[in-house]
């Protein structure tokens, strides 16, 4: 078949960074094309150029043989290009339906046709199997639900090209399946799909062809994905072999470190109890909305608990104050990096040391030398791609931002309990294994670690024990020896009998 979407020598630079250099490749009609690469390799930049949001310094885009001259997002839209960006682009105060129509509201003479506004959206949502009410405000949706709304943008009009930038990073396997089914349907209609992900399983599950970017350059182009292997892709991306991503190794556990008794809060009505030992890494698995993040926030005091107690090494932790929790030895690395993680407008260094700087600031006066040393250390260790530690964090790629937030907590001293919510969301394979390695090191020093993840392979790959949550309750608690995909998924699903279309598809 013929090439439908073509990138011809695209280059794009930002001050201090050449994000794309002379990138050229083409995608056939009706193909799902994967785009992979390390954090900061230039994937999102390429997609932004395609979306008309950013213009390339050089090069051109052709769709169906036609050179595109669009100068705005609107032009791209009219050329039949729809882009789902890496960061959620929703307006919290508007309803789901309004968000989906934003920029192209239906109606005459500027007056919105409300029936069409809601009707079309209900139809589309039902068609792809997303269960949210079109008239609810986006502000009241969970991240996962928001991501699904974002994805629904892809079917609001008949597009010729759809680009999805890490759409599954905040979805669990169940929602991901909805997306995959949707992609299959679009492919059948002949739509070209550009698909960015760090998850190799998905790439193999969905894509027909693949391009790998590295340092803004084209590292490899595979017109037929069946001709490549995982290891090959990894080494094209990272430039080295990674034998075993998980790298789990056995450890001996000490005394009980974290003890949770009957905690409950506004969004978690059923009291929860569990404990974690020194040196133990406990994974929390569940579907979106299972309440894992709520649990973590209650433990940390980010939300106020209505009852129950949290103690570290036998000492009680106050109920409602992150600063006190940190001093008691608990930290939480939040799941929503944009709203709860990064401090916009401030440098990488400041973002990294915001909590730990008190350790090298006698009388509140910061020692700048120590600060920069610490920042440099974790920039190197986590391989953050940036021209300087003084770079504003918003200028980093999504994955690199996530690394900085991780660095914030890994650089803390005297921490006894580390809770990480979706630690590797949007992080490339190479960095992932570095992060796991750091976690093992911390555990070996006696830290109690809680990992919340929606990626089952990850939870199974790196933890010593898995607690499954379902609808705000603890549904299972399995030691590593008893890890079993079917059992975990079964425990995570609310009610097996009622749902006919449970995605029991195996996740490799």
């Amino acid at each position: 078949m013929q090439d439908f979407l073509e990138f011809r020598s695209i280059s794009k630079g930002y001050p201090g960074v050449q994000a794309l250099r002379d990138v050229s490749f083409a995608v056939r009609k009706g193909a799902v094309h994967g785009l992979m690469g390390e954090n900061g390799a230039g994937k999102s930049t390429l997609i932004r150029v395609l979306s008309g949001d950013q213009s390339a310094d050089h090069g051109e885009i052709r769709i169906d043989g036609e050179v595109q001259h669009y100068r705005s997002v609107r032009d791209a839209f009219h050329a039949g290009v729809i882009v789902i960006h890496q960061e959620l682009q929703l307006v919290p105060e508007l309803t789901v339906a309004e968000n989906l129509w934003l920029g192209h509201f239906p109606g005459k003479g500027g007056v919105i046709d409300r029936r069409k506004l809601i009707g079309v959206v209900s139809e589309k949502l039902a068609e792809i199997g997303i269960d949210v009410d079109p008239t609810t405000k986006v502000a009241s949706l969970s991240i996962g639900e928001r991501q699904m709304v974002e994805i629904a943008k892809a079917v609001m009009v008949d597009a010729r090209v759809i680009a999805l930038d890490e759409p599954t990073s905040s979805l669990s396997s169940r929602e991901s399946e909805i997306l995959f089914a949707l992609i299959d349907r679009l492919r059948a209609k002949g739509t070209v799909i550009l698909y960015v992900s760090h998850r190799l399983d998905e790439i193999f599950r969905l894509c027909d062809s693949l391009t790998v970017l590295r340092d803004g350059k084209l590292a490899a182009h595979h017109p037929d994905i069946s001709e490549v292997t995982r290891d090959q892709i990894i080494s094209e991306m990272v430039g080295r072999e990674i034998a075993n991503i998980w790298g789990w190794r056995g450890r001996s556990f000490g005394a009980e470190r974290l003890r949770i008794e009957n905690i409950a809060g506004p969004k978690l009505r059923v009291p929860l109890s569990f404990s974690v030992r020194r040196g133990e890494i406990v994974g929390f698995f569940g579907l979106i909305g299972a309440g894992r993040s709520e649990m973590a926030r209650l433990v940390y005091g980010a939300d106020t608990r209505s009852q129950g107690s949290v103690s570290v090494d036998g000492a009680a932790v106050p109920a409602d104050s992150p600063p006190k929790s940190i001093r008691a030895g608990i930290v939480l690395c939040p799941e929503d990096r944009k709203f709860d993680g990064i401090v916009q407008g401030r440098s990488i260094e400041e973002n990294m040391t915001i909590s730990s700087r008190r350790h090298f600031s006698p009388f509140g006066i910061i020692n700048p030398k120590k600060e920069s040393e610490l920042a440099e250390k974790f920039i190197a260790k986590l391989r953050v791609r940036t021209p300087s530690r003084r770079q504003d964090i918003v200028n980093l790629s999504g994955g690199n931002q996530q690394k900085v937030i991780l660095g914030r907590w890994l650089s803390e001293e005297g921490i006894k309990v580390l809770i990480i919510d979706e630690p590797t969301r949007g992080i490339d394979v190479g960095a992932k294994s570095e992060i796991y390695e750091i976690l093992y090191g911390l555990a070996e020093q006696g830290m109690a670690i809680v990992v919340i993840s929606s990626e089952l392979p990850e939870v199974m790959g790196i933890t010593d024990r898995i607690i499954v949550m379902c609808e705000g309750r603890l549904a299972a608690d399995l030691p590593r020896a008893e890890f079993d995909e079917r059992r975990i998924l079964a425990a995570a699903l609310p009610d097996i009998k009622n749902s006919k279309d449970i995605p029991f598809t195996q996740v490799q």
Binding site: Q89, P92, L102, G107, A139
Partner: protein, 316 residues
């Protein structure tokens, strides 16, 4: 939640609180509920009320406009001068509207195209426009030649003075625009998440320019009505108006962080401001204490409204 609580803390909470406060005031303050006082009260909030309509859009889109007071004074002056010179009130009106539109458009272009902070830009135009008003009139009030001009404010329809009708009309029109039109939704969208709106293809800069232009036009209407009410164009009119209008909007639940606005809220906000002044004067509260009372009412109103929304929402 009991149902009483539900009503108080729900979407319409401020309206309910207001209704209760209104009832109490009506019962306890003598003369308050008389028809004459009600009309007087409404007339006293016409300027604030009219401008609050567009200020609501301005704030909802995450902008800010300090130049409204000067624009009111300037366009009022222009209306009087132009109709004196031309002998036609209509020409005066058109000239005023044109001036308002020009000021607003300049604000909008500077803010949206040159990307200059709205506070600074409108603080600058506030001074420049006031300067023009003073220069044009040599700092003196300009008298109206044609007594027909007074009729704009003095005439009545069904016993209610025209300015009140105009304000009511504006409330209805802008309420409709906010909730039912593309313009309104886009305004909320660019305030709620400018980046997302831009990426969805909303022409954010154009929207912002339109909003400011509209604000200028609306200020001109208010300016003309004011000039007619005080039977002259006064270069010093409406100083400090900007803060009153913004307060009324914020009281009415418009978020300064953008993205949130409701016409009913703003109407209530405007009325609260008006009633506070009215009641203080009816009760003969001494001028210096009025400052204190005014401040306390402002605080109390947002505090109540806030209790409501804290209970309603959890995380933002």
């Amino acid at each position: 939640m009991t149902s009483l609580k539900k009503i108080l803390l729900g979407e319409q909470g401020l309206v309910v609180i207001f209704a209760v406060a209104f009832a109490i005031v009506s019962l306890t303050v003598p003369n308050f509920l008389s028809e004459r006082n009600m009309l007087g009260l409404l007339q006293s909030v016409v300027t604030i009320g009219i401008i609050a309509c567009t200020m609501m859009f301005c704030l909802a889109s995450r902008d800010f406009d300090l130049s409204v007071g000067s624009t009111v004074a300037f366009s009022g002056m222009v209306a009087v001068m132009a109709s004196n010179v031309s002998g036609s009130i209509l020409v005066g009106l058109l000239a005023a509207v044109l001036c308002g539109a020009v000021v607003g458009t300049i604000n909008g272009v500077v803010i949206a195209r040159f990307r200059i902070n709205a506070l600074i830009t409108t603080l600058a135009t506030m001074q420049i426009v006031r300067g023009f008003a003073l220069i044009a009139s040599d700092g003196r009030a300009v008298g109206i030649n044609d007594p027909g001009f007074y009729q704009l404010a003095l005439s009545r329809f069904l016993g209610i003075p025209t300015p009140i009708w105009v304000m009511g009309l504006f409330f209805i029109v802008f309420g409709f625009v906010l909730n039912r039109t593309v313009f309104g939704k886009n305004t909320l969208a660019i305030g709620g998440n400018p980046e997302a709106s831009r990426l969805a293809g909303v022409d954010v800069a154009r929207m912002r320019i339109w909003i400011f232009a509209l604000q200028g036009i609306v200020c001109a209407v208010a300016g003309v009505l004011l000039a007619s009410r005080i039977t002259s164009g006064q270069p010093n009119a409406a100083t400090g108006l900007e803060l009153s209008v913004i307060s009324a909007c914020v009281l009415g639940g418009v978020s300064l962080a953008g993205g949130r606005a409701a016409m009913t809220g703003v109407i209530v906000g405007v009325l609260i401001m008006g009633i506070a002044e009215n009641v203080m004067n009816l009760l003969n509260i001494q001028a210096f204490y009025q400052y204190v009372v005014r401040g306390l009412i402002l605080l109390l109103a947002v505090l109540l409204d806030n209790l409501r929304s804290v209970a309603g929402r959890q995380r933002v």
